[in-house]
């Protein structure tokens, strides 16, 4: 259902530079259109290993699309996305030319990326433990025992060691989202994508989810890319904040620079609008 | 041995078409009664008077979970014992009408349930009599959205008319069987009857879909 559409036009594969440390994720000239609407407009973005990047910006600016194309939930029209030095939506053929990726290549590269959704998307017919075990068993081929150990460990890490047998419908929104985080982590991704993970939650439940993400950032050298409306959290947690506007990164910098000293008019407008709202 | 004898098919076509008129007539008559009777059943089922709503609910459930064939046998073979002689055709039409009235009643019920509560509150506030309220306010709103569902039951009725061959009604299926037993060729007549139903029900389904689309637009 989500087979990404790929087009071969306007590819600009840049020669790799082995002498330099490679970014873990690289967007180069990525464009994504929905009919007339251009959601990503020649986007360039590089994310280093272990970096925590927050993406902020007005609704409809294409922030979520950025995560969704990286997760291959949607295809791109132009440009290249590389994960861990490998093109995501394309692959080199026998002669080294880039051609649209086949399912196998897509699955291999996609395995390095994990995602947590705004609406949790837990499997309603499985309990918390089964939700976390399912993909490691079915996709990675782990034995039930190994998968169970891994799942119990992760569910303990997100503070749900006493909810293993609970079904999603029996958990609060915050608890469901923590199961979803454990489920994504069980695949041992190199990059974790968080798509407005607290937006569907009641305010009093946001904290428990953000705490889990915070702990995750401290304990592991995991690369994280998050789209968020929680400015406070972005400021405190992220290494870098990107302000996204009209399909591009309009301004980026350290949280301190961006929040206290925005250079761009648009950024200032957005931040003051957000401040007023709170 | 030829597969399908076109010559023979052409010969029997007039006889089949002749019987198809009976089929279509039964379906239309049954449908017309079912559409009216179903509405009364639906309103009766919603009534606050338990002596009315309970038996109707029971009757609808009973008829919906028992076979049309036995119901038709019942009408055709039992009633004459009590002095009510129905011809096969009459018993067949009444049987189909009664059976499908219980289905259309459920369609109407869904339509009536979909009318917002506030409309009922409005007619109460205006002090309308229940009958006036139904006729002028509630039904016009409830009926329009259920028209496609009713259309689908016309298709079902059409496909159920061959059941009446069991009580000697000579509709298209019975005619095909007769042709088969006279000529010992079953392939052509039965296949042709199948095609007759297929074409009619696909055509009607297309009309129902157009009706649905038009009503989507009208909203």
């Amino acid at each position: 259902m989500n087979t990404p559409m790929q087009s071969t036009d306007t590819l600009n594969p840049t020669p790799q530079q082995p002498e330099q440390a490679q970014p873990l994720v690289r967007f180069a000239g990525v464009t994504k259109r929905y009919g007339e609407l251009t959601v990503l407009d020649g986007l360039d973005l590089q994310i280093e290993e272990g970096e925590k990047v927050a993406i902020i910006g007005p609704s409809g600016s294409g922030k979520s699309t950025l995560l969704r194309v990286l997760m291959t939930l949607e295809g791109i029209d132009e440009g290249v996305i590389e994960v861990d030095g490998e093109p995501l939506t394309h692959m080199p053929d026998a002669s080294g030319q880039l051609v649209p990726a086949n399912a196998r290549h897509l699955r291999r590269v996609r395995g390095k990326v994990g995602m947590v959704f705004q609406s949790f998307n837990l499997f309603p017919h499985m309990n918390a433990l089964q939700n976390v075990m399912e993909a490691p068993v079915q996709v990675l081929g782990l034995s039930k025992r190994e998968a169970r150990e891994r799942a119990e460990e992760l569910l303990a890490m997100v503070g749900l060691e006493d909810k293993l047998e609970h079904f999603p419908a029996q958990l609060s929104g915050g608890q469901q989202q923590r199961v979803a985080i454990a489920r994504a982590l069980a695949m041992r991704p190199k990059v974790m994508l968080f798509d407005e993970v607290t937006s569907a939650l009641d305010p009093e439940l946001c904290g428990e989810v953000l705490n889990v993400i915070r702990r995750l950032g401290e304990a592991h050298n995991l690369t994280m890319l998050m789209v968020t409306h929680q400015m406070g959290f972005a400021r405190e947690f992220a290494d870098r904040v990107c302000f996204f506007h009209q399909g591009r990164i309009h301004e980026q910098g350290s949280p301190d620079e961006l929040f206290n000293n925005p250079r761009e008019e648009r950024t200032r407008e957005f931040l003051s609008a957000v401040n007023e709202a709170h | 041995m030829n597969f399908f004898d076109w010559q023979f098919a052409r010969e029997i076509l007039p006889r089949l078409l002749d019987a198809s008129l009976t089929t279509i007539g039964i379906a239309l008559a049954g449908f017309a009664i079912a559409v009216v009777l179903g509405l009364f059943l639906a309103i009766g089922r919603r009534s606050r008077l338990r002596w009315l709503s309970w038996p109707i609910t029971g009757l609808i459930e009973f008829i919906r979970s028992t076979p049309l064939l036995i119901q038709v046998y019942f009408l055709f073979y039992v009633f004459p014992n009590y002095g009510l002689n129905l011809s096969a055709m009459q018993a067949g039409i009444i049987g189909i009408a009664l059976h499908y009235a219980c289905y259309t009643a459920e369609v109407y019920r869904a339509g009536l349930d979909a009318v917002p509560r506030s409309q009922w509150e409005a007619v109460t506030a205006l002090n309308m009599k229940p009958w006036t309220a139904y006729r002028d306010v509630i039904l016009p709103q409830a009926l329009r959205p259920v028209l496609p569902a009713l259309g689908n039951y016309l298709i079902s009725i059409l496909k159920d008319t061959p059941v009446l061959s069991a009580i000697t009604v000579v509709e298209i299926m019975q005619r095909a069987k007769n042709i088969g037993s006279e000529s010992f060729r079953y392939l052509e007549p039965i296949t042709m009857v199948g095609l007759f139903f297929l074409i009619l029900s696909l055509g009607l389904a297309w009309c129902v879909r157009r009706l649905e689309n038009r009503m989507e637009l009208a909203r």
């Binding site: 609970h166 999603p168 | 076979p67 019942f74 299926m173 039965i190 029900s201």
Partner: protein, 219 residues
């Protein structure tokens, strides 16, 4: 009246057997046809659409007659017992309706479930087998129950191809004893009880499958 019961129950047992095996076949056909209908391979889709439309569009009795009278003749020369025709015919017919029910249920599974599967890198097959189908099957139980009751009711038509089911026995007893009212009344009651048994069984099944996942709705 008591002396009627053993024979009627004998017939009812045949009805139960036809219903049971017919249901198994119908579920299998429905599953295969629904998956083929949603397949990315165009010829598979066309095949599924043809099967679904033909068996929904031409009348069941025509299909039974076709299997019973036409299939044993040249050029097919496939002879089946009346029981086999009943099971296969009802299975094919209700399976076509079931395919549409199942297709609707599969498509009703939330898009987020597909996205979650892709984010977890599942193959399309694993996704369908482990995540989508289990949810779709649960959603298909209520409309599926109605179809199974349709199947039960339609088993009465197999009496017209000489299988001695409940309807057949009723008709036979009627001719022998002339206790028309009692016989057809009893037959209707037996069908009603069987339908309620299906209702009850499916509700139990739904409750068991839904264990834990209903409260708060599906997310």
């Amino acid at each position: 009246m008591i002396e009627l019961l053993p024979l009627l129950l004998q017939g009812a047992w045949v009805t139960v057997k036809v219903t049971f095996f017919g249901s198994l076949l119908a579920i299998a056909y429905a599953l295969i046809a629904a998956l083929a209908r949603l397949s990315p391979v165009a010829p598979l889709r066309w095949l599924a659409i043809t099967y679904i439309e033909v068996f929904r569009g031409s009348s069941l009795l025509v299909q039974l007659f076709w299997l019973y009278f036409v299939l044993p003749m040249p050029p097919f020369n496939v002879e089946m017992s009346a029981f086999a025709v009943a099971v296969v015919g009802l299975g094919l017919n209700i399976g076509a309706y079931g395919a549409e029910v199942l297709r609707g249920a599969i498509r009703s599974v939330h898009q987020g479930q597909h996205e979650a599967c892709q984010a977890l890198n599942m193959t399309p097959l694993t996704r369908m087998r482990r995540i989508i189908l289990p949810q779709a099957l649960l959603a298909a139980i209520p409309p599926g129950t109605n179809l199974l009751i349709e199947l039960l009711k339609n088993t009465s038509l197999v009496s017209l191809i000489t299988l001695s089911d409940l309807a057949f026995r009723a008709r036979q007893l009627d001719q022998a004893t002339l206790m028309t009212m009692e016989i057809f009344g009893l037959a209707l009651v037996i069908y009603f009880v069987l339908a309620q048994a299906i209702n009850f069984g499916m509700r139990q099944l739904e409750r068991r499958l839904a264990r834990g996942r209903m409260r708060g709705g599906l997310s």
